[in-house]
């Protein structure tokens, strides 16, 4: 389950909905990761662009990996502006036993950072500034640069 929201995430509502949806599914572990916008470098918040077609296929591949381990994964992300101390990202794994979920959430969030087609901007002085120094080139990048 992948849901994109306009603006900040309603963390209690989303976590509760996910919990209630799986409360009787016989999963022994529910491990959520909640990302919160921190006050640093004088920013007023963050802003996000998302390219959904590739995000969906990336997420689908992770759903298949989860399924192979008897687990399920849910993710919510913001599009547009998210202010300080609000949340822009929640990922959760449900699995029969805790070890699978603990390891899976780590792998999933790391790959999310490296591969998910989402672009982050700092909101500062009424400008939207691409966070190039914190961004990661997707694996296989650069093929158009040296083909002359």
């Amino acid at each position: 389950m992948l849901t994109i929201y306009e603006g900040a995430l309603d963390v209690p509502k989303i976590l509760t909905e996910w919990y209630e949806a799986e409360a009787t599914s016989n999963y022994g572990a529910y491990i959520p990761f909640v990302g919160t916008v921190r006050s640093e470098n004088g920013i007023d918040g963050l802003s996000f662009d998302i390219y959904e077609p590739i995000l969906e296929s990336w997420f689908k591949a992770w759903q298949e990996k989860a399924k192979a381990k008897g687990a399920i994964i849910k993710m919510a992300h913001s599009r547009g502006d998210v202010l300080l101390h609000q949340s822009s990202y929640i990922a959760s794994v449900f699995s029969p036993k805790r070890r699978v979920a603990l390891e899976f959430i780590d792998e999933f969030v790391e790959d999310f950072k490296a591969s998910a087609p989402i672009w982050k901007y700092d909101l500062k002085d009424a400008q939207r500034i691409y966070a190039s120094d914190r961004s990661t080139a997707i694996k296989g990048s650069g093929i158009l640069s040296g083909a002359k």
């Binding site: 662009d49 969030v109 998910a116 672009w119 190039s132 997707i138 650069g142």
Partner: protein, 73 residues
């Protein structure tokens, strides 16, 4: 014709080009000085599937996307 879209922070209008493969696209974009830095770290997708080779053939109506470095969360 194929359509070339520039995603995220790349401030560039989409292009409609008559090309047969990604090598031709590389040649065209390398002549655009605004794209020089982006080309070094952009991933490329054809019809929303990431590709790793310039040899991938293109056909009429294909959509090519350039994806600059990402940072979700």
């Amino acid at each position: 014709m194929v359509r070339v879209e520039f995603l995220g922070p790349i401030q560039k209008e989409a292009l409609e080009l008559d090309i047969n493969n990604l090598s031709e696209l590389a040649t065209i974009l390398q002549e655009d000085t605004e794209m020089t830095e982006w080309l070094k770290n952009c991933a490329v997708a054809i019809n929303d599937t990431l590709v790793s080779s310039l040899e991938a053939p293109l056909k009429d109506g294909d959509k090519i996307s350039l994806l600059p470095p990402v940072c979700g969360g």
